[in-house]
């Protein structure tokens, strides 16, 4: 449990005199230079697994002559990147699905099974419980396998599950249990799509920041990005 947290860019302001003591902050440009020097020395552990760091950086380099408004609002050139836009889309669709369930489950429960508010609320339990329990597990999967497999698999998984939601019909307890079970499966899917969305947006902006340190200045635009998402 943490008692005190110091944000990286705040710590950087106070530690700027002594760069040798900085061991943990692997995002500053000076540490990047140390990393490439080690790689040239034949240190296998520092070599990235996929592609090259330099080819990655070239993709995120912004051109030198940016229009004035881009200098005023540094996040604007980043917003042209399809990867960041897709990350926003993932978050948007996740929120849309959540809103969809919030709106339709009570009315379906009322129409099909004559549930009052309490029972309709109980119907939210499988959806929420699986989302809650599996959230950290999918977070671990994103750390281990990357955002792409988790996002693609979760959305693909949701397609048949959403189609199956047409199965429950007005009826007795067995239909209720069927609906609850299907909602639990939807909860798994929602947990899966929740994990990669913000992680991906943060990663892309971090890469832009590392590739263009002079464009973004001392403080990153992490706060702007956080507000955008």
């Amino acid at each position: 449990m943490r008692l005190l947290v110091i944000e990286k860019k705040v710590a950087r302001r106070y530690e700027s005199g002594d760069s040798s003591s900085v061991t943990d902050m692997n995002t500053t440009p000076s540490n990047q230079q140390n990393g490439t020097e080690d790689a040239e020395g034949g240190n296998d552990e520092e070599r990235p697994l996929l592609g090259g760091k330099k080819e990655d950086e070239a993709a995120f380099k912004l051109s030198e002559n940016q229009p004035k408004i881009a200098r005023l609002i540094p996040i604007l050139p980043c917003l042209a990147d399809p990867r960041l836009l897709t990350a926003f889309l993932v978050a948007f669709i996740q929120a849309m699905l959540l809103g969809n369930f919030d709106a339709t489950i009570p009315t379906v429960a009322q129409e099909y099974y004559n549930f009052n508010s309490l029972k309709a609320g109980i119907l939210f339990l499988p959806l929420g419980a699986f989302d809650f329990i599996l959230g950290p597990i999918f977070g671990w999967c994103v750390d281990r396998f990357g955002t792409k497999p988790v996002a693609v698999l979760s959305y693909t998984y949701l397609v048949p599950v959403l189609i199956l939601l047409r199965l429950p019909h007005p009826g007795g307890q067995d239909q209720t249990i069927l609906y609850g079970g299907l909602l639990a499966l939807c909860g798994i899917g929602l947990a899966g799509i929740g994990a990669p969305s913000i992680v991906e947006a943060g990663t892309v902006v971090q890469k832009y920041y590392e590739a263009n340190p002079d464009f973004f200045g001392e403080d990153g635009e992490q706060n702007t990005l956080g507000n955008l998402v």
Partner: protein
């Protein structure tokens, strides 16, 4: 902002569709949207997939 926009549009869209074409078909429309998003994720999220990289080189 994006998340809140989704939470705003979601219930509206879901309600409209449910009244217009029924619950089952509304879920079908959402499933199609999820499928499109899955394809977009495959192409764009986490860097270009290996298929496209091999074609270029």
């Amino acid at each position: 902002m994006v998340f809140s926009a989704g939470l705003t549009l979601g219930p509206e869209l879901a309600g409209e569709l449910k009244q217009a074409i029924g619950y089952g078909n509304m879920n079908l429309v959402l499933a199609v949207i999820c499928a499109v998003t899955a394809v977009l994720c495959f192409v764009y999220i986490g860097g270009k997939p290996r298929l496209f990289r091999r074609k270029r080189s």
